[in-house]
Symmetry: C2
Subunit: 155 residues, 2 copies
């Protein structure tokens, strides 16, 4: 059942270390990054400029051991990994929704990006409110959890 | 840069063929499916029940040839693959946001699911409105495109 996934590009940010990377981009709307698409895939960007928001999928290439139950960054109570957005996941796949600021050839400038510099990009999908925006969704244990520093010792 | 991704489960739906699968789950809110998580990962479901909506990532295992520019199901104008939600993507990774109806052990019943029966599940992430809901996002070329049948000959 295993499958191979080949990156289509790389994400450049100013976050060199796990400590410096934001917990979620939405808490850091000003965090700017550049999404570089390999030339061989650049043709697939046609009309990307029509969208204000993009879904990025990427390989969490510096994640460490997977724990199925863990205390996430925003809570001190343990939760199952699939009930968190923690980066150490069985899939190794991360997801961020970012704002598209502009495009220059195969480079996309985005904001609200929360990933480490050099993260391999797997896919870009256009964010479409009708498909992706569910204001009625519950926030589960995230409800009322505000931005805070990453607790020491948690990766 | 290539990496191996191992499925954590399988998605069961009533859609056996590409022709029968909905274009987007949001157009078929009543489409019910069962997300089965392998027993070895079931512990990671702790507290998933707190969420009303889940993000599913899965392997589009029956997708055919990737075209970087193509006419998607909802439009007759060609767009770059990264400006569409078309299933034949370089990454092979699909994304659906579904409603969680209930859980029984390692089985999650969901609605608004648009994938083929037997699709390998890669990840589940909780949908969190603060991170994932952007009502102000533009809809790009999707704007005004309504539900329609898949045009013949397009996969």
């Amino acid at each position: 059942m295993e499958f191979n996934c080949t990156p289509i590009g790389v994400i450049h940010t100013s976050f060199d270390t796990k400590e410096s990377a934001p917990i979620q981009g939405v808490f850091h709307p000003d965090a700017i990054g550049t999404v570089e698409i390999l030339f061989e895939f650049a043709e697939g960007l046609l009309d990307i400029d029509l969208f204000s928001h993009l879904i990025l999928l990427y390989h969490l290439d510096r994640a460490t051991d997977v724990k199925l139950v863990l205390r996430p960054f925003l809570d001190d109570t343990p939760h199952g990994i699939f009930a968190t957005r923690h980066p150490c996941r069985p899939s190794g796949i991360g997801l961020s929704i970012v704002k598209l600021l502009g495009r220059e050839g195969n480079l996309l400038q985005v904001s609200g990006i929360d990933v480490l510099d050099g993260t391999p990009l797997l896919d870009i999908k256009p964010y479409v409110t009708r498909f992706d925006c569910f204001p009625e969704a519950s926030e589960g244990w995230f409800s009322g959890k505000e931005k805070r520093a990453k607790p020491p010792g948690r990766e």
